[in-house]
C-alpha cells in the first residue's frame, strides 16, 4: 500500500470516528443525521483505500439513506426508562470493550497475504455475489425486502391512526 492510500486511510478513519462521536454525543436530529452522513463518507473512504471500491459506493448510498431518515422531520422521540446508573455502567462497559478489542488487535498474530484484486473489483465481487453465494444474496434480499415492507406498513398504519 503506497503513501497516498495510507494517507487516505488515516484521514478517512478520522472522519468516520468523528462522525461516530457525533452520532453518540450531538443532541439534535439534524446534527445526528449529518453525523451519520459524515460516518458514511469516512467509511466509503476507508473502503476505497482498502481496494474495496464497490463496497465504498454501496456503503455511501446506504449511509446517506440512513442520514436522511435520521434527519427527517417525521422523526419521533421515544424515551427509555433506563436509570442513569445503568447507563454509566454501559458506558464503562463500552470503554472496556474498546480496550479488549484494541489489545487483541495489537497482540494478535495475523496471517499476511498479498492482495491481487483491483481497486474496484466490481466484476469479481458480482461473480461472488451472483454465482458463488447466490442463495445467500437472495436470502439477504428477501430479508431487506421484508424489513422495508414492514417499515412502510408501520408508517402507513401510523399515518392512518392520526
Amino acid at each position: 500500500m503506497d503513501s497516498l492510500h495510507a494517507i487516505g486511510f488515516y484521514v478517512s478513519s478520522g472522519v468516520s470516528l468523528a462522525g461516530g462521536l457525533g452520532v453518540a454525543l450531538l443532541p439534535s436530529r439534524d446534527q445526528r443525521g449529518i453525523s451519520v452522513g459524515v460516518l458514511g463518507l469516512g467509511l466509503a473512504g476507508v473502503y476505497l483505500s482498502l481496494s474495496a471500491g464497490l463496497a465504498a459506493i454501496v456503503a455511501l448510498v446506504c449511509y446517506l439513506g440512513c442520514a436522511a431518515m435520521f434527519a427527517s422531520p417525521q422523526y419521533r422521540r421515544l424515551e427509555t426508562v433506563v436509570s442513569g446508573t445503568w447507563r454509566q455502567v454501559g458506558a464503562i462497559a463500552a470503554g472496556a470493550l474498546l480496550a479488549i478489542l484494541a489489545y487483541s488487535a495489537f497482540r494478535g498474530d495475523f496471517v499476511h497475504a498479498s492482495f491481487y484484486g483491483g481497486t474496484f473489483g466490481a466484476a469479481n465481487l458480482g461473480r461472488v455475489f451472483f454465482a458463488h453465494d447466490a442463495v445467500a444474496t437472495e436470502a439477504v434480499a428477501a430479508l431487506v425486502f421484508a424489513a422495508l415492507a414492514g417499515a412502510a406498513a408501520v408508517w402507513r398504519a401510523r399515518e392512518r391512526s392520526r
Binding site: 492510500h5 454501496v58 456503503a59 462497559a93
Partner: protein, 91 residues
C-alpha cells in the same frame, strides 16, 4: 507511513465501541438506533481489512461481500426501527 491489519482493527474497534457507547448512553431510543449503522460500519471495516491483508488460502472477496451485505442490512434495520419507534411514540 503504512497501513496493516492492526491499524484496520484499531479503527474497527473504535467504531464498534463508539456504537456500543451510543446505544447505552442515549435516553432517546430512536437516537440509540443510530448506533446500529455505527457498529455495522466497524464490523465492515474489520471484514474488508481481513479481505485486503490476511485472506490467505481462499477467495479474497468474501470480506468485501459481507461488508456490502452489512451496509444494506443496516439501512433496512434503521428503516424498520424508525418506523416502529415512530408508531410507538404516536400512541
Amino acid at each position: 507511513m503504512n497501513v496493516g491489519i492492526v491499524a484496520t482493527f484499531f479503527v474497527a474497534a473504535g467504531l464498534v465501541a463508539t456504537g456500543c457507547f451510543a446505544a447505552v448512553w442515549r435516553r432517546d431510543l430512536t437516537a440509540a438506533l443510530a448506533a446500529i449503522p455505527l457498529m455495522f460500519a466497524g464490523v465492515g471495516i474489520a471484514f474488508v481489512g481481513v479481505a485486503r491483508f490476511a485472506a490467505a488460502g481462499g477467495p479474497q472477496l468474501f470480506g468485501q461481500e459481507f461488508a456490502v451485505i452489512l451496509a444494506i442490512a443496516a439501512t433496512a434495520l434503521v428503516a424498520l426501527g424508525l418506523g416502529i419507534a415512530g408508531r410507538e411514540a404516536s400512541r
